[in-house]
Symmetry: C2
Subunit: 212 residues, 2 copies
DNA sequence: TAGATTGTTAATCGATTAACAATC
DNA sequence: TAGATTGTTAATCGATTAACAATC
């Protein structure tokens, strides 16, 4: 893979945003753009745009700029969105359901192939296209479907035992909506945390301390 | 307010995490902790802990460490969690419902006082304690309840018109689950974005590029 | 060719870590 | 007092921005 040896997390976390803006430009039939113009739209510096993109290769052309469609595809490839990772959802409560129903997994590198619950009333019912299964079936299901990713949408206090089973089943990638510290427990995992209450607290702080 | 003149966003975004770990220690009846020990639990450096906390004041005691309960309350105060900002939810779909039902707003500095929808089938029904209202009532409701914060849980393409009304109604604080670029449109706003698909793409990238 | 804009190096800025004197 | 641990300054590290030569 080109020269993506050790890209900093700062750069990585900006990639989806580039991807979004480029996708939008692409939909608007814009076919080329300069770093200056893109920076303006995204409210960053042109230097940063060029520096970021050059971590992965020289996608532009001097005197011309970048081809929107091509650059978009490059970032898609860099992010690995053409992958087909096999993900399962743990917990079909309000959040789990929202995530399962609203996210376009196939465009984000994943297939959502299963969903597990402990609530007997939910087991056996459908969540969109997905059958809600008993957690008892977890191990056999993971083995059969070569599941590699788990989405945790259960409360912190319920995570420990199921996480242990998931980890034992070979799952090392987690999209974590709980407050359980997965990486603290298993260091050989890849974890992305979504901590909504942290985010809301940050909003609160900023509202309190707005300078204008 | 003590010396919080211009705290960097890096520090601010770490505050909720300190708050969470301290709350947990507090529940476990731990009553004091050193920066070294706290750093160990949180998987950061002791230097960072001391440096971060000292942005806001000297909460520790040499030779002793920090009082867990007291430090927790200090951070609570710094974050402004005792506030009672008046928030409304725009969009009672899966995500909006999950947010409304699962987050403990009162412990996070907010009251969720209203919820608005365009779907005629939902209007008039309940979302937990909350009545789902017609968007036609938006302006009168905001004026009456002195609403200062809006939570946007609607698709990007529907944001523009309602955002204009919210802004006109004086709402300048947004918790934004859509992909609409609010800060780009109105610069005098405080916006916290939750971009779940960005987060999932980042997970995908990291899974592709894991070094071990 | 002239104009535009990249890719890349160098300069700056900010954030993190290390060190240690102050002090409980 | 001796030991522990903070608060804070200084050193390091990394990320962002500026500048400009390369080149389309």
């Amino acid at each position: 893979m080109s020269k993506n040896d050790s890209i900093s997390m700062s750069v990585i976390r900006r990639l989806p945003r580039y991807y979004r803006f480029l996708s939008e430009l692409d939909e608007q039939r814009v076919d080329r753009i300069s770093s200056t113009k893109l920076a303006e739209i995204m409210n960053v510096t042109a230097s940063q745009v060029r520096q970021d993109l050059n971590c992965f290769g020289g996608f532009g052309q001097q005197g011309y700029g970048y081809s929107v469609g091509q650059l978009r595809l490059e970032i898609q490839r860099i992010l690995g969105l053409n992958n087909n990772y096999q993900a399962i959802l743990i917990g079909a409560g309000n959040f789990g359901s929202a995530v399962a129903l609203h996210l376009n997994f196939s465009k984000l590198g994943f297939s959502l192939v299963g969903c597990f619950e402990t609530d007997k009333n939910k087991i056996g019912t459908q969540l969109g296209e997905l059958l809600i299964r008993d957690e008892a079936e977890l191990e056999s299901f993971c083995a059969e479907h070569r599941v590699d990713t788990a989405i945790l949408c259960i409360p912190k206090q319920n995570v420990e035992p199921i996480l242990e089973r998931l980890y034992q089943a070979g799952i090392k990638n987690y999209w974590n909506f709980s407050h359980y510290d997965i990486a603290g427990k298993y260091s050989d995992t890849v974890v992305e945390n979504v901590h909504l209450s942290d985010n809301l607290m940050t909003l609160c702080y900023r509202m309190n301390n707005r300078s204008n």
